[in-house]
């Protein structure tokens, strides 16, 4: 392969094929890694990629894997993740990751091949209405029917994916457009007249917010994924604003890492499986400052009992988030980093109200030690496994992804984050199977780092084949499976809601994960005794290659504490489920 065939660009109006336009535009956008799977309708783009040394293409085993890998890449770098797939099944297999990225506001650009324009609408081989299918689950999408529009469209897609409230953008490119010759235009000056996200907060709103903050006796910061999405500077600003105000901080699942978990004013995660102190602080506060979070139902619990005595400041870049679920007294439509910096400036050297009583109250809640769990007693408690994993990896350059379920919540409770972009999980959509391919994407972005997918034995089997991707591309991800042989969270809900009738939640015929790892060319480890756990984890960390760790844990452990469905923040179940926590209304919820 001759790597030197293409002369360097001098002008921005070169003629090239559509496929070359795609690659040139990706390069100009700074794409260094992409995830994809070839097929008939993207062959010209793959041909252009063949002689392109500056973009690393990670070949996945299923298109869904490419999408989640791109998400993992995006969440861990702050850059847009890029996926390239073919038409028809290639595109439909991307629907889950696209929806996942939409729900969690992850910047992603998905390029799909399409049948040639003259065949569109004829039910051609591997044809599907990609823009129709992805219209409601992507931030925006395009079908490019003229090669002259292609370069501009790609640049516009990156602009839309990465600015405002980030999200996935789909570009559907018919095969004839990939072959056609057209003009390349650079990204300079690309804009979209109808697309103008508001990033600067209004002076008036900031002033109003500061007035409330100065008077607050029981304030709390409730922060979310918006702080992470705004970039590391927003996390810095949050820390700075917290330092000058002294207000305690809680965060959503998506926002973990924006504020250091080791800080004395950190309350832990809030919500359904959040901490007792965080949820009680939310319920009893007199001022809630929501930064880049959206009052998700997993956070609020019962709406009409949600933080009844507080004024609410809501900072969000998406105006539709304001007043969607909870009415804001002071809406601030802005980028969270910009808003936080404006608040720091307006706060100046103000002395906050005496918060001693409030913090003493928080300490009383904290003293309930809500994440405590029983002794191992010869078995490995899942919480203990996460705790040991944390202790043995916290001083390393570690990134964590998860699947969805009990293990995800235990990871959020017992693994602690000091920095943003270190925690990748599917929050909004709750996609089982997210974690393994996400780890592939994270590892591709951070080849030297320790990347661990904290998994459950059920979730991990959903997109398991990406283990092969990890082996091929020498991505030494560690898959740490809390294996309790149950679909644990569903089992827990059946215990709570359905009289312990465990309908189809026990996985019989689980694979031998050690042999499975070996079959793929990785290392398999297993552990079923707490005394051996540390040594096995060390072994996993030390191994230079993908590892599947089958950690056999207590089978029927429940994930607690928990706000039962339909209950308020101050009605948490702490350590025991009796079966009558949830009333009739709550039973109907998900």
């Amino acid at each position: 392969m001759d790597m030197q065939t293409k002369p360097e660009a001098k002008t921005d109006t070169r003629q090239m094929t559509g496929a070359e336009i795609v690659i040139t535009a990706l390069k100009e956008q700074g794409v260094d890694v992409m995830f994809g799977y070839p097929g008939g309708a993207v062959l010209p783009i793959y041909d252009a990629l063949f002689s392109e040394p500056s973009i690393r293409h990670v070949l996945v085993r299923h298109e869904q894997g490419a999408g989640h890998a791109a998400e993992g890449y995006a969440r861990s770098t702050g850059k847009a993740g890029v996926a390239l797939v073919t038409s028809g099944p290639g595109a439909t297999n991307m629907v889950t990751p696209i929806t996942d990225a939409m729900m969690d506001s992850i910047p992603m650009v998905v390029i799909t091949g399409q049948v040639p324009t003259h065949l569109i609408g004829t039910d051609a081989f591997q044809e599907c209405d990609t823009v129709g299918i992805t219209r409601c689950c992507a931030k925006h999408n395009y079908l490019v029917t003229d090669v002259e529009d292609l370069a501009r469209t790609i640049h516009e897609a990156f602009l839309i994916a990465t600015t405002g409230r980030p999200g996935p953008v789909v570009i559907d490119i018919p095969k004839d457009v990939q072959f056609a010759s057209g003009t390349y235009v650079g990204k300079e000056g690309i804009h979209k007249a109808t697309y103008k996200p508001q990033t600067e907060p209004s002076v008036h709103a900031i002033k109003h917010a500061i007035q409330l903050m100065k008077k607050a006796r029981r304030p709390v910061f409730y922060t979310g994924g918006g702080v992470i999405n705004s970039g590391p500077k927003a996390s810095e600003a949050l820390r700075k604003l917290q330092a000058v105000t002294g207000f305690p901080v809680t965060s959503t699942l998506m926002g973990l890492g924006a504020f250091p978990a080791s800080h004395e004013d950190w309350l832990g995660m809030l919500g359904m499986h959040g901490s007792y102190e965080a949820n009680h602080a939310m319920h009893d506060c007199d001022l809630m400052i929501c930064v880049g979070a959206r009052f998700d139902d997993r956070v609020t619990g019962r709406i009409d009992a949600f933080s009844p005595g507080s004024k609410k400041i809501h900072i969000d870049i998406d105006p539709s988030s304001i007043n969607k679920v909870i009415r804001a007294d002071v809406p601030i439509i802005a980028d969270s980093g910009e808003a936080l910096n404006a608040l720091i400036k307006a706060w100046g050297k103000t002395k906050p109200q005496d918060l001693t009583d409030w913090k003493a109250q928080i300490d009383r809640w904290r003293s309930r030690d809500c994440f405590a769990y029983g002794d191992n007693d010869g078995e490995i408690k899942p919480q203990y496994a996460i705790e040991r994993l944390y202790e043995l990896t916290k001083d390393r350059d570690t990134y964590i992804s998860t699947e969805v379920g009990q293990h995800q919540m235990w990871a959020a409770q017992h693994y602690h984050f000091e920095e943003p972009n270190r925690w990748m999980t599917s929050g909004g959509l709750g996609t089982m199977g997210y974690g393994l391919p996400a780890a592939v994407g994270i590892q591709a972005a951070h080849p030297e780092s320790l990347v661990i997918d904290i998994a459950g034995e059920a979730s991990v089997q959903m997109v398991l084949q990406e283990l092969s991707t990890a082996v091929q591309h020498k991505l030494p991800i560690k898959i740490f499976i809390l294996n309790n042989e149950w679909m644990g969270m569903v089992r827990q809900w059946q215990e709570l809601l359905h009289g312990e009738r465990y309908s189809h939640t026990y996985s019989e015929s689980l694979p031998d994960f050690v042999k499975l790892a070996e079959a793929y060319g990785g290392l398999g480890l297993t552990c079923d005794h707490p005394d051996e756990l540390d040594a096995r984890i060390e072994e996993m960390i030390d191994y230079d290659g993908p590892v599947v760790f089958d950690c056999r844990v207590t089978k029927a452990e429940n994930c607690l504490p928990m706000i039962p469905s339909g209950a308020a923040h101050n009605e948490m179940i702490l350590s025991e489920i009796t079966g009558d926590e949830i009333d009739e209304a709550g039973r109907k919820l998900v």
Partner: protein, 181 residues
Amino acid sequence: MSDNPASAYDMSHVEESEERRTLAVIVDNEPGVLGRVVGLFSARGYNIESLTVAEVDRDRHRSRITIVTAGTAHTLEQIEAQLLRLVPVANVTDITKSKRGLERELALIKVAGEGEKRVEALRISEIFRARVIDTTNKSFIFELTGASDKIDQFCALMEPLGLVEVSRTGVLSIKRGAEKG
């Protein structure tokens, strides 16, 4: 339901009255834009009572979509915000709320009948200032412009006189006065 506690999923305890609103949505006239708008309404469970669309600025490729919807104040606020989230939506104007709104609808109404009924249909059409745009020995097609309730009323009067079918444009709207938008 009212005795049970509400939750994030159950907003039915909120007894709010519904209002009818006419929204003017200016969009980039690009393929699929109407699908985005309609898809948003169905995906989020909003009502569409009527919808019209046509390009209104050829140079800037802008189309005007007029949507008549109904919802609580909270829902209507969300509809506007959600519409503005769509990338090709340039702006949304609540024509009803502005109190300066003008609304008109055009209808084509086919009425068939003979004898007295036919004469009566023609007589009523004159009262409503409808135009006859097609006629046979047994039928008329009337063209009628006006507020939607005027067209409703006309159709109701034609019903016993041999109303065959109705075609309506849906509501068009614009604000009074010299200013744009």
